[in-house]
Amino acid sequence: MAVSNPAEYSPKRNTSFVDWLNRHIKLIFILPSLIFVLAMMVFPIGYTVWLSFNEWNGSARQSPQGVGLSNYTNLLTADPRFWDSVLRTFLFSFGAVVAELLLGLGIALLLQGKFFGQNFIKTLILLPMVATPVAIGMAWLLMFEPTIGLLNALLRDIGIAPQPWLGSEQQALWSLVMVDVWQWTPMMALILLAGLTVLPEEPYEAARVDGASPRQRFFYLTLPLLMPTIVVATLLRSIDALKTFDIIYTMTRGGPGYATETINTYGYVQSFEYFKLGQASSLLVIFFAMVLGISLLFIQVRRRWGVQA
């Protein structure tokens, strides 16, 4: 992993401003984004953490009341709804992301290289993620409708019994996974496709000389070379999947019963339907910690692959 630092080549003879810039390129590249992100995040995070130790419903008459850790202990020990939603969140995200990764990789390999109408196809395939989650949720809601919806009409045509879809505790979560896969596989595919296009060529030349089979080339070259991109794409998609809100809230509001309530929708309910800002904040803090933990794991995995790439 010995990456040589281009800054070392920096000529040191000149003291002009441009030169100063060039010598401090690292700082200049880092600072703007760092300042921006911190400026936007420090207060909200601090505020939320502070609020998580309080009880408040936004009242103008009564300021937040300190309650110590009780919001946390309440969630972690006395609220089965929370742990159920945690489990569901992970089930939903895992199911969706794995399907999206496999399908996305397949589609990326398929779309790799020139073909007739490639720009057009690559644009069309974006459609599921462009059509605004709310509208998409409403459209799927109608398509899933067991009595008058399209899906059951299709099933009847091919002689399969109509399904309750979102109206059943067993099927609702997986119906939502289906929508998520439909919506986000294109993004996965396009990121991986972009990754494929910049893979170095030499290893393939060598493999050809050695007479490697296509399968060997895929498993021993493409996959390892693409791994950093795969990990990043999976990481970004996992974060978003864990935070999925729009389609769930539009289509089921967490129902039937609580069968599709995820941590994020529960957090929304706590803030905007129950007006329990302190409780909601503690939930958001825990949720944040969980996702951060998972992300750091991904980053570790990526570092390992990064060494090889």
Binding site: N57, G58, S59, A60, R61, Q62, F115, F116, G117, Q118, N119, F120, L141, L142, E145, P146, T147, I148, P162, P164, W165, L166, G167, S168, E169, A172, M251, T252, R253, G255, P256, G257, V269, F272, E273, Y274, F275, K276, L277
Partner: protein
């Protein structure tokens, strides 16, 4: 490949351009709806002239009808044709008595996506002209309205001067939190405007701790929509008792034909309000007089059972995820013989472009149970004034006008049930509704209960608690157990909720 994507790209571009042109063409029209076209300038015109000028600038249709249009106003399509002229007999012009004291003031009003918003926008230019104020109206879907208001109010901002809110859902909380201005003195002081003309139930809904926190604008009741043709074929009459309702639902259910006895909401929280009439009519209620849960009674249990059984046995598939948009769509498609929901949704079934059974719908008062027929009769929306608003008096002038008898008359004639007794009692006030509907709405109002959800501060949480047995009941689970659990949770909730009041 290039040519193909070229052509398609071009086609897309052209489509887009067409859209843009269309949008530009209409920008002018839509601005007349929201902006006071010249209203602020012509401050010297007399009130009568202002009315005419204002009326001329409103969207076509407002003033086209005369009294003759009243008959046609029964269809939803003609909803916009209700007329100032028709109201004239009783009330005169809609801006009589509007003060010019606040000329030049700007007010920001936040409303829901609601027919009230559309109705008020039509007469707003007249108000702007008469008062010299400038009013901007924003509208949001109710969930978003609630979220947007809550965030603005929590952070202590004075963003909106006046907003629409749901007194039964968030009224107590807003009032407790000091977000709503106390309007008691203003309401009771305006003698000509006449606070006592508002229905008793409506006034009590917006009054917390003897203070008035909002002015009711829209009322609604739970009724039974039924298919006259199917009932006739089966030799049935509109159900008057819950037993008859069950019988009719049973008779008219035929899944093989894709026909179901009835359709109602099954989603936990949305179902609570429609379940409430079942609860009251069965002799139950939410809370006892000493503020404890009343869910543990046999009456409540029987109501939960009935609601779930009806949907489970005679409802379509997938009712667990059903809120009113899906329910109404199924009824519109003729798949259900009955649909039980709020009367405010009636225009959905009357419009032939939306409903294949538009001419076959009958209305019935909520059927009687052990305790008689007790539908809810509620104020679903009210106008509130932001306590942080810097324009309190001007804001009151707007509220006073928007809830004045002439305006309410005009809105009600366009099909929007208001809260004023004189309007309901006048034949003119019922012109906007189908005759049968008007009768049912009136009789329901007399029998009705003034709330459709637990009367607490944190309504959202309460709804989830009391709604859970509905879900279990529809699934055919252990209803008694679920009700018992809900009873306990609700008691614990009520203890905390009371403290929240202080």
């Amino acid at each position: 490949m290039n040519r193909k994507s070229n052509t398609l790209g071009l086609a897309t571009l052209m489509l887009l351009l067409c859209g843009l042109v269309a949008a530009c063409g209409d920008t002018g029209a839509s601005t007349t709806n929201t902006a006071p076209t010249g209203g602020a300038v012509s401050g010297t015109t007399t009130t009568a002239a202002a009315t005419n000028a204002g009326a001329a600038t409103t969207a076509a249709g407002t003033t086209t009808g005369t009294t003759a249009a009243a008959g046609a106003a029964t269809t939803a399509a003609a909803a916009g044709a209700a007329t100032t002229a028709a109201a004239a007999g009783q009330t005169g012009n809609v801006v009589a008595g509007v003060s010019k004291n606040f000329s030049g003031k700007q007010l920001r009003i936040i409303t829901a996506n609601h027919p009230w918003n559309e109705g008020i926008k039509k007469v707003l230019p007249q108000f702007e002209q008469a008062s010299g104020m400038k009013i901007t109206v924003e509208n949001y879907f109710e969930d978003q309205l609630s979220q947007k208001l809550q965030i603005g109010l929590t952070s202590g901002s004075s963003g909106a001067d006046v907003f629409m809110f749901r007194p039964l859902q968030e009224g107590k909380l807003f009032a407790n939190n000091g977000w709503l201005n106390d309007l008691s003195a203003k309401a009771q002081g305006a003698s000509e405007w006449n606070w006592s003309d508002f229905q008793d139930a409506a006034r009590s809904t917006v009054t917390f701790d003897n203070k008035v926190y909002g002015i009711p604008i829209v009322t609604e009741r739970e009724i039974v929509y039924y298919r006259k043709d199917l009932f006739e074929q089966a030799g049935l009459k509109a159900p008057t008792t819950l037993e008859e309702l069950t019988e009719a639902a049973k008779k008219l259910t035929d899944p093989a034909k894709g026909q179901y006895g009835l359709v109602m909401r099954g989603q936990r929280s949305p179902a609570v309000t429609q379940f409430s009439s079942f609860l009251y009519s069965s002799g139950g209620t939410w809370t006892t007089s000493d503020g404890k849960s009343a869910l543990g009674t046999p009456e409540a249990l029987s109501a939960y059972k009935l609601y779930g059984d009806l949907l489970k046995n005679y409802g379509p598939q997938g009712t667990l995820n059903m809120s009113w948009p899906q329910a109404v769509a199924i009824f519109q498609q003729g798949k259900a013989a009955m649909w039980i929901d709020a009367d405010s949704l009636y225009t959905n079934v009357l419009d032939p472009a939306k409903s294949i059974i538009a001419d076959k719908v009958g209305y019935a008062q909520f059927p009687a149970g052990k305790a008689g027929s007790k539908p809810y009769n509620i104020t679903s929306w009210a106008l509130g004034m932001n306590a942080a608003s810097g324009n309190q008096d001007a804001a009151w002038e707007f509220i006073r006008w928007a809830t004045s008898a002439p305006v309410v008359m005009q809105l009600q004639q366009s099909g929007l049930p208001g809260a004023r007794s004189t309007v309901w009692n006048s034949p003119d006030g019922l012109k906007g509704f189908p005759e049968e509907y008007a009768k049912v709405a009136q009789s329901s109002a007399k029998a009705g209960v003034g709330f459709d959800r637990p009367p607490v501060v944190n309504v959202g949480e309460a709804r989830d608690i009391v709604g859970n047995p509905i879900v279990i009941s529809i699934q055919g689970g252990d209803v008694a157990g679920a009700v018992k659990e809900a009873d306990q949770k609700f008691n614990a909730f009520l203890d905390k909720d009371k403290n929240a009041k202080s």
